[in-house]
């Protein structure tokens, strides 16, 4: 069950990645690598979802 939810957590978008409330509350900066990886994560995830949607809808007859 634990493994199942772990897989799910990778498949679904993980918005927790963008939560830096703790660091902000302690007056700490957010690491540059974290910002970079989060940006890449967002771009990649959007690319996957949009591409998958484009492929699926291209195969449908919407007329």
């Amino acid at each position: 069950m634990q493994k199942f939810f772990k897989v799910i957590s990778y498949v679904l978008p993980n918005f927790g990645n963008y939560d830096v409330m703790g660091a902000a509350a302690h007056g700490r900066g957010v690491a540059g690598t974290l910002i970079l990886h989060n940006t890449l994560y967002a771009l990649l995830y959007c690319a996957i979802v949009l591409s998958a949607a484009a492929v699926i809808f291209s195969r449908k007859d919407l007329k």
Binding site: N14, A31, T33, Y41, V55, R59
Partner: protein, 310 residues
Amino acid sequence: MNAGKAPAWVLLLLLPVGFAGVWRLQRKINTARDAMHQEQDEVLLRSPKLMRVLTGEYATFAADIYWTRAVQYYGNKRLGQDTDLQSLWPLLDLATTLDPHLLPVYRFGATFLSEPEPRGAGRPDLAIQLLERGIQANPEYWRLNQDLGNVYYLELQDYLKAGEAYLEGSRKAGSAPWMKVMAARFLEKGDSRETAVMLWSEVYESTTDEALKENARINLQLLRADEDIEHLNEMSEQFAERAGRPPHSMHELAQAAKIGGEPADPLGYPYTIGPDGKRKFQRRVRCSNRKPFIGGRYKVYRSTTQSSVI
């Protein structure tokens, strides 16, 4: 408009490759976030006295914050399977100094501290310190004595101390009746037989619960048998010193010690001497147990000579 259909294999290729990339990125993000959390583990102000001065009349509010932080700290460490709980004690120390009446800190904090790694900090000594502080600040709250007894019992296997903690708690107003029972059990196990007999007798006389009364009666009988066996052991050793050999039978021992008749356990079954004659008394002289074992010990019944006590 003539849009071409994308082949299905594009999707089959896109999803695994894309999510493999997501998985790798997520791992990197997790590493970066863990590093951030480790930085946040630091407790910058570790002096409870200074914090008390700084927080002034908001000390209890600050204590709540430190307690919440301690819970989050412990929870995050557990989730991350990190066994380094160095900041746990400073957080609990701060919380209890700022508000000595914040009872959950003592109760749950002691569990966090006393549990062995990886479940806890593996510091029962600090858990005891925390609970003793809590008992001093909240002398009427008997549950802290129970928790203290549990730490001694579960983590240190110190039955005597566990029994003493339970006994102290059992004397407080409103304490549960089983506190006394637990105290008796631990003291009995910790070889404080006299106190255990006293407590079991109290339980026997005061309880209206038939099951508890029966339990007390059996335990009193067991204690009586323990005492008998100890005395018989002494007599057997004296016999061996005089005769140069252990006694062959209880009859021989009884005659040498000039006791009227063969000694019997509280049920009336005679004690017997084992064939090996070795120094361990339980092997040589044992209670005749035609009854089933209880809790790994022989079941015996109280002698008629003691019936007036119960």
